[in-house]
């Protein structure tokens, strides 16, 4: 049981990122209970991001974040980095250039880019040399900002590049990150898996159309038929075939990524728990819904029939806002549910380090391991359920918005 707990803890520390400061060679699970006090201070007064006090919140945020490394078990597979700097253009290199350790912190800088905890960041100081620079120390200063120490000189580092304008952390940066990150790789992998599964199924339906489903067909068919009969047909009526490919793509892509993110030791990618990803899905839904909208739909938003004029003054802005609030909540719901699930698991695993006093107390660590295993197993079972429910909810809500947009307004004609 304890071994399982320690394995789990290693897994949720994302495969070799451990936060109590011990080494990361493959056997690292076995010495969680030992005393470790290897918190080292780097040059220029920087602190290593992974030593000292254990911070469950920071650990959780680090582990649900995207990364430029795909870590499978103890191995960190380098991924392509494609930064774009205005005025300098695109750059293309593998993240192995950074020569990162188990934490994903690189000891090299390349073209003023460094790797901090798996994330590529850019040194803002222009006096820092271009090209490959070895012997760079990446750490955090006293205020928690990332900085780089090279030749005993401190260089500040730009924030992580994000597409959200810095609303959810990060900020406006001097560069833009177009890298093939862990999340992008996960998307491609899940896409390929589903592509081959559905190709195989389609072939089988053609070859033996009237036979009972067999193999993978038997797994996918009930889910497909459920979405078709319980979601698409009742909401969309006779138009359902036109929108079925979109709805099925949504459902299976979200479901696949939800489940892919739950497989232990496979990178622990958190694609559906990434706001950028869910926002793109919601934008697709927004355009599909509103471009399908008919006269009745727009009339109900901007000129609600059968309502007195003064109510329309209040109602029209609310309805118009609702146009945008619908996709926003779609994106937030999926993002928050998946992220919350992952964070709860990481916090449960953190109990081992909290009660073990960050490696100082063997008794505390082993004592916390048993309840942690039980809680984590329970939580993972819940997350399995949530993976299906959230994929279903995203699809059914999109369908219900669609049904409002393409509704012919029969009951309404009767009222006049």
């Amino acid at each position: 049981m304890c071994l399982l707990a320690l394995n789990l803890s290693a897994q949720h520390n994302h495969d070799g990122h451990d936060h109590d400061g011990h080494d990361h060679s493959g056997h690292s699970h076995d010495d969680h209970g030992h005393s470790h006090d290897t918190h080292h201070t780097l040059g220029c007064g920087l602190h290593s991001a992974h030593g000292g006090e254990f911070d469950p919140g920071a650990t959780a945020f680090h582990h649900i974040a995207d990364a430029n490394i795909y870590s499978i078990g103890p191995f960190g597979i380098p991924l392509p980095c494609i930064p774009f700097v205005p005025g300098e253009g695109f750059d293309f290199f593998l993240s192995s250039k950074f020569h990162y350790d188990g934490h994903g912190t690189g000891s090299n800088a390349y073209n003023r880019f460094v790797l901090d905890g798996g994330t590529m960041k850019r040194i803002t100081d222009e006096s820092f040399p271009d090209g490959l620079v070895e012997g760079v120390e990446v750490g955090h200063d006293d205020e928690g900002h990332t900085a780089v120490c090279y030749n005993n000189k401190l260089y500040p580092v730009d924030k992580k590049s994000t597409a959200d304008g810095g609303i959810f952390g990060g900020g406006i940066t001097s560069w833009y990150d177009f890298s093939m990150t862990k999340n992008v790789m996960s998307m491609i992998i899940v896409f390929l898996i589903f592509f081959f599964i559905f190709r195989a199924i389609a072939k089988r339906y053609k070859q033996r159309p009237d036979k009972a489903p067999s193999g993978i067909q038997g797994l996918i068919e009930p889910i497909f038929v459920f979405i078709q009969d319980e979601v698409a047909k009742p909401f969309l009526g006779k138009h359902y075939l036109k929108y079925l490919p979109f709805l099925m793509s949504l459902f299976f892509f979200i479901l696949g990524l939800n489940l892919w993110g739950q497989i232990p030791f496979l990178g622990g990618s958190n694609v559906t728990g990434n706001l950028a990803f869910t926002a793109v899905l919601a934008i697709f839904a927004f355009f599909v819904v509103n471009l399908s909208g008919n006269k009745h739909y727009w009339e109900h938003i901007f000129n609600m029939p059968g309502v007195p004029g003064w109510v329309k003054i209040i109602l029209t802005p609310v309805e118009a806002l609702g146009l945008f609030i619908k996709p926003i909540t779609l994106a937030l719901r999926l993002f928050a549910n998946i992220t919350a699930g992952h964070m709860v698991i990481i916090i449960f695993v953190s109990f081992i380090f909290i009660f073990g006093n960050n490696g100082a107390s063997k008794v505390g660590a082993y004592g916390a391991a048993l309840p942690t295993v039980l809680l984590t197993m329970f939580m993972m079972a819940i997350e399995l359920l949530v993976a299906f429910i959230q994929a279903f909810v995203f699809t059914i809500l999109t369908t219900s918005y669609l049904s409002a947009a393409i509704d012919e307004g029969h009951e309404h004609e009767g009222a006049h």
Binding site: I167, F168, E230, V231, I325, I328, T329, L332, R333, A336, N337, I389, F392, V393, I396, L397, S400
Partner: protein, 68 residues
């Protein structure tokens, strides 16, 4: 003990969502007990409304993050 008042706002939002979800869950159970053959329809409608309530709570939580 440190923290921001936004955390209290998040807590209040969650209380509201909790009451809403409890009410749906309870009513859905009641409905299923009264009419077990309609379990499929009731369940999918329950999930739909639960998702809508969750949406309201999520907006509150995100605003709590933003004003922090």
């Amino acid at each position: 003990m440190t923290g921001s008042i936004a955390a209290i706002g998040m807590g209040l939002a969650v209380i509201g969502a909790g009451i809403g979800l409890a009410s749906i869950g309870g009513k859905a159970m009641e409905a299923i007990a009264r009419q077990p053959e309609a379990v499929g329809d009731i369940r999918s409608n329950m999930i739909l409304v639960a998702a809508l309530i969750e949406g309201a709570a999520l907006i509150a939580i995100v605003f709590a993050f933003l004003v922090k």
